[in-house]
């Protein structure tokens, strides 16, 4: 059995005295797409922050591809192949599209290769390469953000609320991109409030509630039991 790409063991994290993660156990197999679902305030985004090194955990362990990484800085993690796309628009609004793409080369892929990949996938970005990223539509900005996941060839991709504030049509388009990234062998942990969208591309799913993972399994099972889980029927 191969080592999982991400292994989280009994992770705790808190904002001040308020504990948000209360012992999270989660494992993402290599090459799989895992959807992490759950209601508001379940701790999903906090989990992403802790895994990506933006926030310190109070206790517990995180292994990336078998390596204990807790306490590593987020920029160091990004350079070794963890690509995090945070909530909201994760682009620099006052830089042009091209400048945004150039900055993606910090993750280790040469700038020219980043530009090639991004423009190959999204010709629309090429049309707008000299436009300020902040002046593009929400969907286009999210394309730009996804370019980083495509171009930087990560080992693990963390996606936080990809669909936030976007029209359903665009969300579907973006998830097609996610599926394409998954086909290239990238493992993905994908956080989503809208279960159905995410479950379509996921191999596994986990449900988070009250700072813990309360259910894991195949997308089908989760979809059936989710209402119960979230509303507190089964736990």
């Amino acid at each position: 059995m191969s080592v999982p790409i991400l292994d989280v063991i009994d992770l705790h994290a808190a904002y001040g005295r308020i504990e948000v993660l209360r012992g999270v156990d989660l494992s993402v197999p290599r090459g799989a797409v895992m959807a992490l679902l759950g209601p508001n305030g379940a701790g999903k985004s906090t989990l992403v922050k802790v895994i990506s090194g933006q926030k310190e955990a109070t206790s517990g362990d995180i292994h990336l591809a078998g390596v204990h990484v807790q306490g590593a800085a987020s920029d160091a993690l990004a350079r070794v192949g963890l690509c995090t796309i945070p909530e909201g628009r994760s682009v620099f609004p006052n830089l042009t599209v091209e400048e945004n793409l150039v900055l993606m080369s910090y993750a280790g892929v040469p700038a020219a290769a980043v530009l090639d990949t991004a423009y190959g996938y999204f010709p629309r970005l090429h049309e707008r390469r000299h436009q300020l990223a902040g002046t593009m539509s929400g969907g286009e900005q999210q394309m730009l953000a996804m370019s980083r996941a495509l171009a930087s060839d990560p080992a693990l991709l963390l996606l936080d609320e990809l669909s936030m504030g976007l029209a359903p049509l665009i969300v579907d388009e973006l998830y097609e991109t996610v599926a394409r990234i998954a086909e290239s062998g990238v493992s993905i942990l994908c956080i989503e409030q809208f279960a159905r969208t995410a479950l379509r591309v996921a191999d596994y799913a986990a449900v988070m509630s009250g700072g813990r993972i309360v259910a894991t399994g195949e997308p089908g099972e989760i979809l059936d039991t989710m209402a119960d889980v979230i509303l507190g029927g089964a736990a």
């Binding site: 933006q54 796309i85 945070p86 620099f92 006052n94 830089l95 400048e99 280790g108």
Partner: protein, 650 residues
């Protein structure tokens, strides 16, 4: 016509040096959101280092230039970013301002400590070499300046738009966290921009030194030129900054050429940068409100009425004892401390409660003193009238800058302070150049408070009354409005509060309090002059107010006492004078992050003592008395008083 050409050319050369300095300021601001008030002070300090290298150590000029600009300055920049200004950009503007003002004062002190005052000459590069262009003689130094400016402009352009690290510099303004997720290192980026900024400050300082001479204050003041130029570019655009610097240089040069050499107009010559800054800040489009700025600023607790009345009485009693015990010349010092404490009270209102930073508070005190001396009505009416005049001047300053907040407001007050200091206070109708005005002691209902002790005690009384008034204000509806305005102007806007006139009123009130202090000070001294109200004093007042706590009345009292003691210590040990400045300045750098200051720690001691002693005491009292209900009031009051009195005596 040829003289116009000559003056324009000269102006362009000076402008080039300003441009170098201003571009450094803009670079650090755009990448880290910290406006470095001390930019000029760093230029000054590094110019002194350059002098040290070339003159004292005898290193070759070019080598020293490379060492200072290429090694010392970047190292200082890295150090400052790493240990002082890191993370300041996200905090409230006032904190960043106070910290950099602290750096300014500290650097001046440090420079005075390392290089004690003595005449020093720094020769221009290749002095003596030059070329005749038309009717004008262009020196090699001027040409070097221009070449440097052009090189800096091109270098910065290439760095910021053609390199990845330059792009990262611009990116880190928006969102340093995201840059980290991209794999970049925002700290390294910020350190680089500070290093480059320092190098530019050093280069600008060194190039300007032969023009303005190696002087602690003149070189530091050059930063106003840099601010003005940077403001034209709205702290963002480098090309506009260069344009602003050139315009400023030419304007100054024309002023030298065409303004009359004597009379009132002549005094405008040194303040052209300040005027320029003021004009640009006023004419600029409205600065955007910062949204989501609410960062739990924990304010010092507002004392209860009983506690404040008790402490006030305690302070009055202590002052009464003190003025009768100490030597006569020290009685006056207590009066000075009371003046400073009152000026700081005005800052508690404006900065502590209102969240606005003013760098002109002592100037308002000067206006009050001037009005008091000129009115020549040494009674309560005259005193109040001079306070009202100071308030009116404060409102006048606040009116044009009504729309501005934070940084822009602070800079316009600084420009105003320099303007008053150099032009108005020295004018014929005011104190006159190097002159003084006589002011009589106050009389109340025909009774002249003649003796020093009585007058000083009256000043302490005035302080206590003002402090009580301030606390009453803070506890009322106005106080709530003030705090709401400070915490989130945009939230106030959505509630339908029109804050602009309120802000003018706040500014006026604060200026009025300072003016009252100034009037009393004039009466205390008997003679007052422009030298008593230098703009630099306002910086010290702000610093000490923040160090000792700008959010509480106790902080004002402690700060006032410390500001009075400062020159006394200096006089006692002149060799340590600079060091003292340095300690104060760098102390502010350390403490500036907590606007509650030292006063808050005093409160903590008081609370700790109460929690330790009060229960035991109460228990004992309960044993003695049938009912111990009235005892806690008696326990409350002395504890804070003790802390205050100890500071007062020390």
């Amino acid at each position: 016509m040829s003289s116009l050409f000559a003056f324009t050319l000269l102006g362009l050369f000076t402008g080039a040096a300003y441009a170098i300095m201003a571009s450094g300021l803009v670079l650090t601001y755009t990448t880290t959101r910290v406006f470095n008030i001390a930019h000029g002070a760093f230029g000054m300090f590094l110019a002194f280092v350059f002098w040290d290298f070339t003159q004292r150590q005898g290193l070759p000029t070019v080598l020293s230039l490379v060492l200072v600009v290429g090694v010392v300055a970047p190292a200082i920049g890295w150090f400052i970013q790493r240990f002082v200004t890191r993370g300041l950009g996200e905090g409230p503007v006032s904190v960043a301002l106070v910290v950099t003002v602290g750096l300014l004062v500290g650097l001046i002190g440090l420079a005075q400590q390392i290089w004690p005052p003595e005449p020093r000459v720094l020769l221009p590069f290749w002095s003596g070499t030059g070329w005749q262009v038309g009717d004008t003689f262009v020196t090699a130094h001027q040409l070097v300046t221009l070449v440097c400016a052009i090189a800096v402009a091109f270098g910065l352009y290439l760095l910021l738009s053609r390199t990845r690290i330059g792009t990262a510099m611009r990116a880190s303004v928006d969102n340093p966290e995201l840059l980290k997720l991209f794999g970049g290192k925002p700290d390294r980026v910020a350190a680089l921009s500070w290093a480059i900024g320092m190098s530019l400050a050093a280069l600008g300082g060194i190039l300007l030194t032969p023009v303005v001479l190696l002087d602690y204050y003149a070189l530091t003041l050059l930063v106003i030129n840099a601010y003005a130029a940077a403001m034209l570019g709205r702290l963002k655009s480098l090309p506009m900054t260069f344009a602003g610097a050139m315009i400023l240089g030419v304007l100054e040069s024309w002023a030298v050429g065409y303004l009359p050499t004597d009379g009132f107009l002549a005094s405008f010559r040194p303040v052209i940068p300040a005027l320029f800054l003021f004009a640009i800040v006023v004419l600029m489009p409205q600065a955007q409100l910062r949204i989501g700025q609410v960062k739990g600023i924990v304010t010092a607790p507002v004392p209860t009425m009983r506690l404040s009345l008790g402490s006030g009485t305690g302070l009055l009693v202590a002052a009464l004892l003190l003025v009768n015990v100490v030597a006569p010349n020290q009685v006056l010092l207590i009066g000075v401390a009371a003046t400073y404490a009152m000026v700081m009270l005005s800052l508690v209102l404006l900065t502590g409660y209102g969240g606005h930073v003013s760098l002109a508070q002592f100037t308002f005190a000067g206006v009050g003193a001037l009005a008091y001396a000129k009115l020549d009505e040494p009674n309560l009416f005259g005193l109040l009238l001079s306070a009202v005049i100071a308030a009116a001047v404060g409102a006048l300053v606040a009116l044009p800058v009504l729309r501005l907040t934070g940084l822009y407001l602070a800079l316009s007050t600084m420009a105003f302070a320099v303007l008053m200091d150099k032009v108005v206070f020295n004018a014929e109708f005011a104190f006159k150049f190097n002159g003084t005005l006589a002011a009589d002691r106050l009389s109340i209902l025909g009774m002249r408070i003649g003796s020093d002790t009585a007058y000083v005690w009256f000043m302490v009384l005035a302080f206590v009354l003002l402090a009580l008034g301030l606390l009453v204000l803070r506890r009322g509806a106005l106080g709530r409005l003030l705090i709401a305005m400070r915490d989130s102007p945009s939230a106030c806007g959505t509630l339908g509060l029109d804050l602009r006139w309120f802000r003018v009123g706040l500014f006026a009130l604060s200026a009025g309090v300072a003016g009252l202090a100034g009037g009393l000070f004039a009466g205390l001294r008997g003679t007052v002059g422009a030298a008593d109200f230098l703009y630099f004093q306002s910086l010290l007042v702000l610093l000490l107010a923040v160090v000792f706590g700008a959010t509480s009345v106790t902080g004002a009292l402690l700060g006032g006492t410390a500001l009075m003691l400062l020159p006394e210590f200096q006089a006692a040990s002149p060799s340590m004078a600079g060091l003292l400045f340095a300690v104060i300045g760098f102390g502010a750098v350390l403490l500036g992050r907590d606007p509650n200051g030292i006063a808050n720690h005093v409160f903590r001691i008081g609370r700790w003592l109460r929690s330790r002693i009060a229960p035991g005491l109460e228990g004992r009292l309960q044993g003695l008395l049938p009912r111990g209900g009235g005892s806690d009031g008696a326990v409350d009051v002395p504890l804070v008083d003790i802390a205050v009195d100890v500071e007062k005596v020390g």
